[in-house]
């Protein structure tokens, strides 16, 4: 088996979840690496959109943020930010790729504060476009390092809506986007029960046990009856990925 670190494993699993021909929003860091990797491996016509105003750019060097000229080089169009975000509301965006400081049982994401907003323990940078992506993308994938303090029963603040309180809560509030479809971590893949809309472990990565995942999750995590084991990253997948981040800005060993 090839040797890989948690960040590399997660990015490759994210890459595999994307399909050729999709229109996606991907934030800087690991989601963007997954998207570019997918373009190199199996989805050459995957089109990436950026908030700043870039449609299907050709990304040659990994941008530090998704909001600069480097990230929109050779775009087919450079629309205004409001138009980029309204493509989401109109239904043009197949996949939104998000991370977050806290994620809860129903896929709600917090990137605003730890504690309450009136008395924050830690004030975080905030939504950016994440709320809009979570509100309106046709489906959302979450990419995250798997640890107890991130996977919590209830997020301190719902910056980006998942299935809210679960069940039909999301549909009832009038949101049009499909909500979170997959949560991809360094330990496994989680999806959501059709009725309760609760996170359920559906796959573990090679060498990871279901107990380990449950132990590192801050709420009672149900396990699918047909729990699968993912195929480990291939040499080719790893080679292609490492070439995208030679300085290991994002693909460092350890947590991410």
């Amino acid at each position: 088996m090839s040797d890989y670190n948690p960040a590399e494993l997660t990015v490759i699993m994210g890459s595999r979840a994307l399909q050729d021909g999709q229109i996606i929003f991907a934030g800087a860091g690991l989601p963007l690496l997954s998207a570019i990797h997918a373009q190199k491996m199996h989805a050459p016509s995957l089109a990436i959109l950026f908030e700043v105003g870039g449609v299907a750019p050709r990304i040659t060097s990994l941008p530090r943020s998704t909001n600069e000229a480097r990230s929109v080089r050779r775009s087919v169009a450079t629309p205004a930010t409001i138009d980029m975000m309204l493509y989401l509301q109109r239904g043009f965006v197949d996949v939104g790729f998000l991370g977050g400081a806290q994620i809860d049982r129903h896929g709600n994401i917090n990137s605003s504060c730890i504690g309450t907003l009136e008395k924050p323990k830690v004030r975080l940078p905030g939504s950016g476009g994440a709320n809009d992506i979570a509100s309106s993308a046709n489906r959302v994938f979450i990419i995250s390092y798997h640890e107890k303090r991130r996977f919590v029963e209830k997020v301190d603040f719902v910056t980006s809506p998942g299935f809210l309180e679960g069940g039909q809560a999301r549909e009832k509030t009038g949101l049009m986007g499909g909500g979170v479809e997959k949560v991809i971590t360094n330990l496994g893949i989680m999806e959501f029960d059709k009725n309760s809309r609760s996170m359920t472990l559906t796959a573990v990565h090679p060498g990871i046990t279901e107990e380990e995942v449950r132990e590192k999750t801050g709420f009672e995590l149900p396990v699918a009856e047909d729990l699968k084991t993912t195929t480990p990253p291939s040499e080719e997948e790893l080679r292609s990925l490492r070439a995208l981040d030679p300085e290991k800005r994002y693909l460092k060993a350890g947590d991410f």
Binding site: A28, G29, E51, V52, G53, G54, R64, S65, N67, E68, A69, R70, V72, T78, P79, A80, T81, I82, M85, L86, L88, Q89, S112, L117, E118, K119, P120, V122, R123, L124, P125, G126, S127, G128, G129, A130, N131, D132, A134, S135, S136, F157, V158, T159, S160, P161, L164, A169, R170, T173, G174, L175, M176, R249
Partner: protein, 315 residues
Amino acid sequence: MDYRKARQEIVEKNKGIRDKRTTLEEAVSMINDKDHVAVGGLQYTRTPMGVLWEIIRQKKQDITFYKPLMSFEGDWLFVSGAMGKAVTSWFSGGVTWGVSKIMRTFAERDPSTFEEWSLLGLSLRFKAGAMGIPCIPTKTMLGSDLEKIRGLKRFTCPYSGEEMLLIPAVNPDVAIIHSQIADKYGNAQIFGPPCLDIETAKAASKVILTTEQIVDNEHIRDAPNSTNIPFFCVDAVVELPFGCYPHECYGRYEPAYEKLGEYGQGLLKAEDKIGFVQEYLDKYFYQPADFPEYLDLFGVRSLVEATRRGRIWPL
């Protein structure tokens, strides 16, 4: 600003086609303490840095700044006292320099100094302002805690029965915008992403435009479809080469990453964060005699390298 007052300001202002060229100092003197000011560009891109620099030098106080995504400039505005409140969707140093410790210091002491919206939510505030209406419906932010803390009103569409949120318009006192080229009347041509600048230019009562290069009016008329902001929106035009530095201007220069990194790393290491920023402000903002002298402090090499990396022919 009150909806009717915002419209009246446009009705009454001198919108004629006239030479609006002025100095950076004169232009910034149009901004008052406690004004609401919309900042063009987004994160590191096409930030009207020269105007922010001059606002800090003129010791303006307690301004409410609107910017779609805020970066290090937010640190400088907070510590100088120029910014009383940041209205934004995201406020951080940048991906590789972590969360802004200055933002945290201010927002954790007084949460009202950082008013968070989603990016589309904030964009729609400007859109409504630009359209001359007091609010605009959307599906974004429904059900989230952002809806709750912003106290947004629900609205049921009378035609479809769809549940929506109503986003209140914003009409800032002043918008500050940087373009690649403009003529002396303020006809501005922005290349690359216009960000929210087209909306903010229409929403604001006054617009201060800085530009890399003032060109002849005939040049503008040769390519009128490239004009994003027409003259009647604009009140002051200042030619300011490298006016976004150390941020970027699309097609002209990239961010001076190494200089942003020096600041970012310095702030991470500094024990006294506020003191570190005060020293930075003193060296780079208060001491230089003028904007070129500010650029001098970073050196020709930095400008040349940023240009080499960022220029796109024929912009």
